[in-house]
Symmetry: C2
Subunit: 233 residues, 2 copies
DNA sequence: CGGACGCTTGATTGTCCTCAAGATCGGTGG
DNA sequence: CCACCGATCTTGAGGACAATCAAGCGTCCG
């Protein structure tokens, strides 16, 4: 195949009413805790993959340095997120904290043992990969859209995360810099800045002196960031 | 997580020296055969996912129609490729033949049964998802590059496919139209055409009256399409 | 022959990048 | 306390690349 069909097998009919995720959660909670200051690396691309990580608090930027010298930010991890997964024995990405961060780690050897003994646990891995894939596909859909819409989508995601974590969705605190956002959205920092300015000019958001972003007009933001997907043909 | 860490668990240490893929191959070979003319649909987005497909000969275009009316080609399937995978009970993509095509199908119910009985088969599914993910990640890396390089990458992939199928790598027969290529690479047909012209002007390829593409200068093509990835930080 | 289709080519426009110059903030040291 | 500095962000001017709009060409096929 020249590329990819963009989907996976249907595992749904196999899903047992057991909560397999909790196994993973339990093991992770059992693992050691690490505390990091801002701008510290959890791991660097090329490091041997020794552990899987779950963020307790703080924020982490996952990125890749390209041969052209440019940086591609593949994602951000926040409280509750799991990162460090991968099929290779070395990390393909680097993970750097954006602020003071606390995280749990679980050795890959433990993971292997669990997956070996429990087929359901293997399914958890499969599901994790599926979720990753869905996210990547989504990113692919957004990458061709105009800069303003891409930023709108970014803000909508941030609101969703706030909602998930029980925080105010309309007050977005961004721990990352404009450069991080730009490298994530495939834009320059100047364009990101300009788009923020434009969103303010249109009274969709309000930014007070480097502080949090207040969302004033959710509907307009949603219109800008409306998904491109279709279910049927 | 705002997006995705771009990787999966490390399953490598679990891999048994058994060729699990052959199980899948055997089952697929056992399934019914379908013959389709050009421009026929194997399935359409929204159709219930009843089977998995493996192409014997011909070519298939996998695509999605977006709400904006635009079309996104997510990939092409050629002889030997498997497509129709997915986590949902309905197809998210449409699959249309580009020429006369012969394919095998295997019911998802059979897949489920196999996965249920054999944990190794589940791993095969996991690996398939990983491959999909890697391909999607790769696409993401190419999407920000200039049009000429994107087309070069496309041709390099085509050469690789020829090599895999035991055909002449330097003679590329493209069953798809410029529009298909454009929707795949995120370019317009005009730009694709212009880039083809440019590659000819620079004596990198040669196209004789709608016929196959002859690659004249592989090195230059490789330079244009050189990967952006880095292993280390 | 004529029409449909796919492809190519040209002219123009628009979006975003690049380059450049300030503005704002936080921290540091005199 | 204040001057200075670096980092981050904002804003502006110019330019590059690909999209859009438009026309024309070759081929296939009725």
């Amino acid at each position: 195949m020249l590329s990819h069909s963009g989907q996976q097998f249907d595992y749904a009919p196999l899903l047992k009413p057991i909560d397999v995720r909790s196994d993973l959660e339990r093991e992770i909670a059992r693992g050691p805790t690490r505390r990091l200051q801002a701008k510290e690396h959890v791991f660097i691309a090329g490091d041997p993959r020794s552990s899987l990580y779950r963020l307790d608090s703080g924020a982490v930027c996952l990125y890749q340095i390209l041969l052209s010298g440019r940086r591609r930010v593949t994602g951000f991890a926040f409280a509750g997120d799991i990162f460090g997964m991968g099929a290779l024995s070395q990390h393909a990405l680097s993970a750097q904290t954006l602020r003071r961060t606390r995280l749990h780690s679980i050795p890959t050897t433990t993971l292997s043992r669990l997956a070996f003994n429990d087929p359901h646990f293997g399914m958890t891995l499969y599901e994790a990969a599926c979720r990753e894939l869905a996210g990547t596909q989504q990113t692919l859909l957004t990458i061709k859209r105009p800069a303003l819409e891409r930023l709108a989508i970014f803000l909508l995601f941030s609101m969703q995360r706030n909602r998930r974590n029980g925080e105010d969705p309309e007050t977005i605190v961004l721990p990352m810099t404009r450069a991080d956002i730009g490298d994530f959205l495939g834009l320059t920092i100047e364009t990101v800045s300009r788009m923020f300015t434009k969103l303010q000019a249109e009274h969709i958001i309000e930014i007070k002196r480097r502080g949090p972003i207040h969302v004033l007009d959710i509907d307009k933001l949603r219109t800008l960031g409306a998904p491109e997907q279709t279910a049927g043909n």
